[in-house]
């Protein structure tokens, strides 16, 4: 395992796109959260009634313990950047035919897929670390004394964020692995993630088909439900929010099963394929 990790590091460490991705993640995660924080600040800093009402209704999503949740939620929209990297890492192997060369040089088929699995885990970990640092810094910065004492209450959003990231990057890997061509794979990934799955959700809702929770991205999206911004005035929204929190434990299981199936298929196909 350590040897596989070392070899993947040899491949990645001089790969410019990897460092660009890391730089963009390091930039976008604080930036997007600061942007939302700024919007929140603008609404709630007004001295009039509306400002006070907004402050009362919204609470402070950037203070502990809610910071872990809100920042995970905002950050989860930007998985596109590491997903591009994952797709590049696997399609590069096809493009340069190095997936063949790795086998010719002595890896078994399983070792090749395991090495890629390690890539996805490590990139998911790196993204999670960036999220954790951003949430910790913003959380401590925007918390008053009482909130600061509650900093550890919702730490479970860190492993949930990791699992969601890993699951969705695994889908990106799977698409890159099956399609082989970088640009087509990227197009399919974005098109499905941003358009097709949302259209299916609208269709399922329209037809009252209760399968929305089981769509590939939605399975893991529901690990980090939308924060309860309007729960204090909307009872139905509040109930929906509490239901979504209760469903997280099930979505952990669904996500694990779904992701395990993806990787099982990858192992299985690669073991038997002519490459």
């Amino acid at each position: 395992m350590k040897q596989l990790l070392r070899i993947e590091w040899l491949k990645i460490k001089h790969y410019a796109a990897f460092w660009w991705m890391l730089g963009i993640v390091l930039f976008t995660y604080p930036a997007i959260n600061l942007l939302f924080q700024n919007i929140y600040q603008n609404i709630t800093s007004r001295k009039d009634m509306a400002g006070n009402a907004a402050k009362f209704l919204l609470g402070n999503p950037f203070a502990f313990p809610d910071a872990w949740h809100s920042i995970a939620y905002f950050s989860s929209w930007f998985l596109l950047v590491p997903a591009i990297l994952i797709i590049m890492l696997i399609t590069n192997e096809y493009h340069y035919k190095t997936h063949r060369q790795n086998i010719i040089d002595g890896w078994t088929r399983n070792q090749f897929i395991t090495a890629k699995l390690i890539d996805v885990v490590i990139i998911a970990l790196m993204v999670t670390i960036v999220y954790t640092i951003v949430a910790a810094i913003l959380g401590f910065y925007y918390s008053d004394a009482i909130n600061t004492q509650r900093w550890s209450e919702e730490l479970y959003f860190i492993p949930l964020f990791f699992l969601m990231t890993f699951a969705q990057l695994s889908i990106a890997f799977f698409i890159g692995y099956l399609i082989k061509k970088a640009f087509i794979a990227l197009a399919v990934f974005f098109f499905y993630m941003l358009i097709v799955e949302n259209l299916i959700k609208v269709y399922f809702a329209y037809k009252s088909i209760p399968l929305n929770a089981y769509l590939p991205f939605e399975i893991s999206n529901r690990l980090i439900p939308r924060p309860n911004f309007l729960g204090k005035i909307d009872e139905a929204a509040n109930k929906a929010y509490l239901d979504s929190l209760a469903a997280i434990q099930w979505h952990v299981i669904y996500t694990l099963i779904f992701t395990a199936i993806i990787w099982w298929i990858c192992y299985r196909l690669f073991k038997k394929a002519d490459i």
Partner: protein, 298 residues
């Protein structure tokens, strides 16, 4: 002699096209084994199967007399088809990956392998900046890394200039003299004849012949002769027990006998005793090219 590689009834089809049909070959230890054949005959398919890049439909193979060794490829220096490297990495960084995966060699060996193929001045340059010939040299360097006892080289002189071709041929010969087993696919007959100790010929996925170069090319004796008394010669030839064929050329003729059945001196004496005077007599070895066309035509 101990075999490094044995294949048993390997077959492979691509849809309706039968790329390999029940291939059985044995590669003795220490041999330079040429796999010959026209384009599309199954040479690269054979090597790809033997290196686990392609899966055979049926049949088995065994390297180092151990069919259960899943890490056998680590012990084989390989150049298969095109050079496959990470374009954004330098020659040295690419060979570091080869070294890490195969476990062959160390840091010093990487420099040595790069120097052997004449790329030492460019070893820190990205692979994407290399010419076709340099890429091919690096691929040969990767195969040589760590002094593997067995080398598999698919068209090793592809893309090289004439000097490069001679260099690589000499290198292969030297490696053979060091006792390494080299399996080399080529469509260049001259290359195989100059370098190989054993060879096989494939055509449309069928094995036409396989064995030591000396035996295959000398299983017939050919005498080239000139005489003014052709009619008499034709008459006496039929009485010789090992006579196979007479080919009449413009000013001379070629007479084919079974291998080692008659010496030029015996033949000369026999003709003379029958009143035929030969004005020219020469023994000829069949070239690989002739053998190849003889087998692959039709």
């Amino acid at each position: 002699m101990e075999n490094i590689l044995t294949t048993t009834n390997i077959s492979k089809s691509y849809g309706p096209v039968k790329a390999l049909n029940n291939l059985n070959i044995e590669v003795p230890k220490g041999s330079i084994f040429g796999i010959l054949g026209p384009n599309g005959s199954g040479k690269t398919t054979t090597l790809s199967i033997l290196l686990d890049v392609l899966k055979p439909d049926t049949g088995t193979y065994s390297w180092f007399n151990n069919p259960n060794d899943i890490y056998y490829r680590k012990k084989i220096g390989t150049l298969l088809e095109t050079p496959n490297f990470y374009h954004y990495l330098s020659a040295k960084d690419n060979l570091k990956i080869t070294e890490a995966i195969s476990g062959r060699g160390n840091e010093a060996d990487i420099d040595k392998a790069i120097a052997m193929v004449g790329l030492h001045t460019r070893k820190h340059d990205k692979f994407s900046t290399y010419s076709l010939g340099m890429k091919q040299r690096l691929a040969i360097g990767a195969a040589l890394l760590g002094n593997a006892d067995v080398l598999v080289l698919d068209e090793p002189t592809n893309g090289l200039d004439p000097v490069g071709i001679v260099e690589i041929r000499n290198l292969i010969k030297q490696l053979g003299e060091q006792g390494k087993t080299i399996i080399m696919a080529s469509h260049l007959l001259d290359e195989v004849e100059k370098v190989c100790t054993h060879f096989c010929i494939l055509k449309h996925g069928n094995l036409l012949i396989s064995g030591p170069v000396k035996e295959i090319l000398r299983n017939e004796d050919i005498l080239v002769i000139e005489t003014e008394n052709m009619a008499a010669l034709q008459q006496i030839l039929t009485t010789l027990p090992h006579f196979l064929e007479l080919k009449q050329q413009k000013s001379f003729c070629e007479i084919y006998f079974k291998s080692n059945s008659i010496s030029p001196a015996e033949f000369n004496a026999y003709c003379f005793n029958n009143g035929i005077v030969l004005s020219h007599l020469e023994i000829k070895t069949k070239s690989l090219e002739e053998k190849f066309f003889e087998l692959t035509e039709n």
